[in-house]
């Protein structure tokens, strides 16, 4: 196994040269003091050091030992707890949390770089802190003052970890089918009853407490998604300032109000039980838990019936993180393939001028070079788009100009599902291509590349399946406003292009796509006589086409950056235009064919 060493010069080139992050952050009052390139670079380097020295070496044990369940408790692989304690105590989870909440107030993009590196180094371990920032935003924006006083700083600093408890056996993509019940208690809290599945980090020994954010239904709630409310139930009530509660149903006569029985400190543990953990294809370093809520007392977060709204704050943050996981995992696989291809010698490469008569390094063979250049093109463009999205998250919050804030919100809304779908698919399929470079050695565990492929597969499923991302983008974000936001995004991309041949090609494709959506896709899906399911059939191709346009924009921007004429960037640029971009034509053909179907 080769551990994953983040190559910070690559991240820094995208952040400082291509995206000029300090210039984007300078107008933001909250960020102005952090817009210093030296400080940002220093954080990137420190993150890489921590990831490389502390987190990466645990990856193999995470896969081989894995999380182990016994009698309701989950033991994490050796070293995982110590690494997590070092992680939060060093302040990494609070990097982008507000100073008043115990955070460091640094730009969100640094957190993005950190989590991309962490995911590449050790996807399983990174699942644990991966939900923290979403939980922080959720509690900050929807929690009552009392709840914030109890939990916000603990979550901001990462001293306590968090989960999202959404899925139930009968309710996956369709959260409207959630059945978990929340019944009011006399003290203003609620008693939760139900079973949640696929709960990442539902139980573990990494942190001293775990904070569950749980979708459930109040007694008088209507069926469907509008009947869902969000609740917070901790693993331990200790230390949160609340009385040690134990909810017990006392009224069997029809009232839904429960009484609370105070019990001793030994039962400060809440009635949330981890029933088992799943056996999975990969991601063994992260326990995927079945959680039973057995009259577990918790607080409501936000308004009754607005649980999905509150949860979506968390899910959108998580979706960007999942896109970053894809980029990190693909880079980890790529680094292994690249190292192998430089060392492994097989046959003469065609046109080889090597005089020794010996076999050439396989990186010189076209079939291998193609894989390496095409996958590098995905990673680098993915970074440009993902880091840009992270910058826009801060612009959206802090820019003095309302129009600029609106444009940033548009970017984040439209681009996040693209990142989530396209880069999680690429982590799996492109990771598999990198595995192919190692031949049979890629299929055996020794080199560690097959673990990346197994781990990566889940990212296409969780935080909203990739099919849900595509529907979210086209059906909920693009069509309802007559593609106004999408057109504004496309024009914004065009405005950032220079006049190089590849930029002109990109501009033409952006125009063509915009015209197609305005003149064909919109009228032919929105007309009254259009089949009700037509847009659904097109959602995946629509998103893939937009992903390729964003990549074309990203590669045009990279090419326009001083320093991008180095072989390392030129090879990937060539990889993009030659082996990635042609998919755009295929997606347009599929969209056209879809419009022609009844």
């Amino acid at each position: 196994m080769t551990p994953y060493p983040p190559h910070t010069d690559d991240h820094a080139f995208v952040l400082f040269e291509v995206l000029r992050a300090p210039q984007t952050l300078a107008p933001l009052a909250a960020m102005a003091e952090h817009a210093d390139p030296d400080l940002l670079r220093q954080v990137v380097d420190e993150a890489a050091k921590f990831v490389g020295e502390v987190i990466s070496p645990l990856n193999r044990a995470g896969d081989e030992t894995g999380a182990r369940w016994h009698a309701g408790a989950v033991t994490m692989p050796a070293g995982f707890r110590d690494a997590y304690q070092a992680f939060w105590q060093a302040g990494w989870p609070s990097l982008a949390c507000a100073v008043e909440d115990g955070g460091q107030g640094l730009p969100t993009v640094l957190e993005a770089v950190l989590y991309e590196m962490l995911s590449g180094a050790n996807h399983g371990w990174t699942m644990a802190p991966g939900l923290l920032h979403g939980a922080y935003e959720c509690i900050k924006h929807h929690g009552s003052p009392d709840l914030k006083a109890r939990y916000l700083e603990k979550i901001a600093t990462g001293e306590w970890l968090a989960t999202m408890c959404l899925t139930e056996p009968q309710a996956g993509s369709d959260l409207g089918l959630v059945r978990t019940k929340a019944v009011p208690l006399p003290d203003g809290r609620f008693a939760l009853n139900g079973t949640k599945i696929f709960i990442s980090g539902g139980e573990h020994d990494l942190s001293d407490n775990i904070v569950h954010l749980v979708l459930a239904r109040l007694p008088d709630a209507p069926p469907g998604p509008k009947g869902l409310s969000l609740f917070l139930v901790p693993k331990f009530y200790d230390g949160d300032g609340a009385a040690p509660p134990q909810a017990k149903p006392t009224d069997l006569g029809g009232s839904d109000v429960h009484a609370v029985t105070s019990v001793g400190a030994s039962t400060r543990r809440s009635a949330v039980h981890c029933e088992r953990i799943e056996e999975k294809m990969g991601l063994h370093g992260s326990p995927t838990c079945v959680m039973r809520f057995d009259d577990a007392a918790g607080w409501i977060v936000g308004e009754p019936g607005k649980g999905l709204n509150a949860m979506f704050v968390m899910m959108n943050a998580a979706r960007l993180h999942v896109g970053l996981q894809g980029i990190g995992l693909l880079d980890a696989a790529w680094q292994k393939a690249d190292a192998y291809a430089q060392e492994r010698r097989q046959m003469r490469a065609p046109g080889s001028t090597s005089k020794t008569g010996q076999a050439d390094a396989i990186e010189r063979h076209p079939a291998m070079r193609r894989i390496l250049d095409a996958q590098r093109a995905w990673i680098d463009a993915g970074r440009v788009i993902a880091y840009r999205t992270a910058l826009e998250l801060d612009v959206q919050k802090h820019h003095p100009d309302a129009d600029r804030r609106a444009a940033a919100a548009r970017w984040c809304s439209l681009v996040t599902p693209v990142l989530k779908l396209a880069w999680t698919e690429q982590a799996f399929h492109g990771g598999s291509a990198c595995l192919q470079v190692l031949g049979g050695h890629g299929y055996v565990r020794e080199w560690g590349i097959e673990q990346h492929v197994r781990d990566a597969r889940v990212a296409m499923i969780y935080e909203g399946t990739n099919e849900i991302q595509a529907i979210d983008l086209l059906l909920r974000k693009v069509l309802p406003d007559g593609a106004a936001a999408q057109q504004a995004l496309l024009h914004g991309l065009m405005a950032e292009l220079d006049h190089s041949p590849q930029a002109e090609r990109t501009r033409q494709a952006l125009e063509r796509f915009g015209n197609f959506v305005q003149n064909r896709l919109l009228p032919q899906t929105q007309a009254e006589q259009a089949p009700a399911d037509r847009a659904h059939w097109l959602a995946d191709d629509y998103l893939r086409a937009l992903a390729l346009l964003l990549m074309a924009w990203a590669w045009s921007r990279i090419a326009a950056t001083p320093g991008a004429d180095a072989a390392r960037w030129r090879g990937a640029e060539n990889g993009f235009w030659r082996w990635v971009w042609p998919e755009f034509e295929m997606r347009m053909a599929m969209l056209e064919a879809g419009l022609a179907c009844d």
Copy 2:
């Protein structure tokens, strides 16, 4: 876990209705008595029964227990040996072996159907007998009369299993780098020394003996592939009629001739040692062995220096089998996804007319229907192409007309690498798409679909990596004869099309591709000033384009078959034209772009 039940009506429709196998076989004297459709169908049904009842139930244990190594011995999972003994004793391995060799003389296509079913049911177990037919052909065509007398019937019947020992640590795709040495012994045999890796079934307890076919280098052999010879070394000499030998080097003075020391029956075991087995991503039911040959005595197979020729007989048979593995694995994954999609209810489907207000089965959601129809299109077309290839193998051997035999040889030569590459990629990527239908349930082991994806991944690597298949097709089979064979293949496909709209579309695409190859690809890769590596860059896209053309032909043929208007076939046909075929345009664009590069 759902066991894999082959749906024999689907296989039979392709075999009897689409391909009209009995009519193809009728002119072959050797096959005439087996051209009876009832007999053929009966074998298909019996095969499905055996596969479903005996082999499929062992699949999960194969993955979870796996093959275990201890002190040089490999213990197979519970039930594997009994199943194998039942398999060979029932005559399944000898289905398509000649009657005079102890076989049943049935058409090769029945063996193809059998191995496709077996692979879908239990890829790991099927690896063991999977190399038998290739070993049979290799010994039959290249073995000396003495060697045939010792080994041919045992291999034909499958009483003894066989391996291919090619790869060494430094020699993977480049077999010219093989270092294993073969030194003549006084008794006419050879003493082999060297280490082979990635040897499927190198050691196990399924059969009473294992016959290794080994590439090695004679003392006076030149370097490179022309210095390789093929040898046969059994695990046990017992029962083969030979004296119990033990090779020992006696002459340290430079002579390469070894003396044989006769020893007792306790050492009738040859000096072939299984040093360890690999930990792999999947295929745990098949031991992937490191084999050390330690002065192991064996026989030469064929002429000195012609080892690769003899081995290629085996590898070509194996490549068709690997393509069939892809089809079988994809079908197994598809059956699970289809069953799940019929049961699982989430949300209303767009345009749903369900009156209950309840969620619809997810098979009615466009995103899921698309996956199911597109992957079904791959499976069904794959069967048409693979079974046709198996029929052509018999035509090539037994048809009275020399031109027809030549056409069949052309088909097998050109289409086998296409099947191997395209359907192994599809088993992995399309299997992953089927996994996606199950959402989170696909990622956990319970449903068994993730095992298919892990198992399938290796098929893109072994028996010649997929990159080697593409190079083999374009560089070794298409370009050297000025694309004459390819043009004949394309014209043959055209001649089998009717005049339906989809057949006309197929015909146009075949013509366009043929013209592109003749007028653009050939001159621009073969011209003296063309870059030496140009064709190498194009090989993958060339093969993928040809795969799509073969699929278009297959779907045109299916559509022209009475009975293909059933919803089950129409859905997959629609899946092909809408979501599979558009890749053709992308490949043509990539080929065009490749010709424009220096």
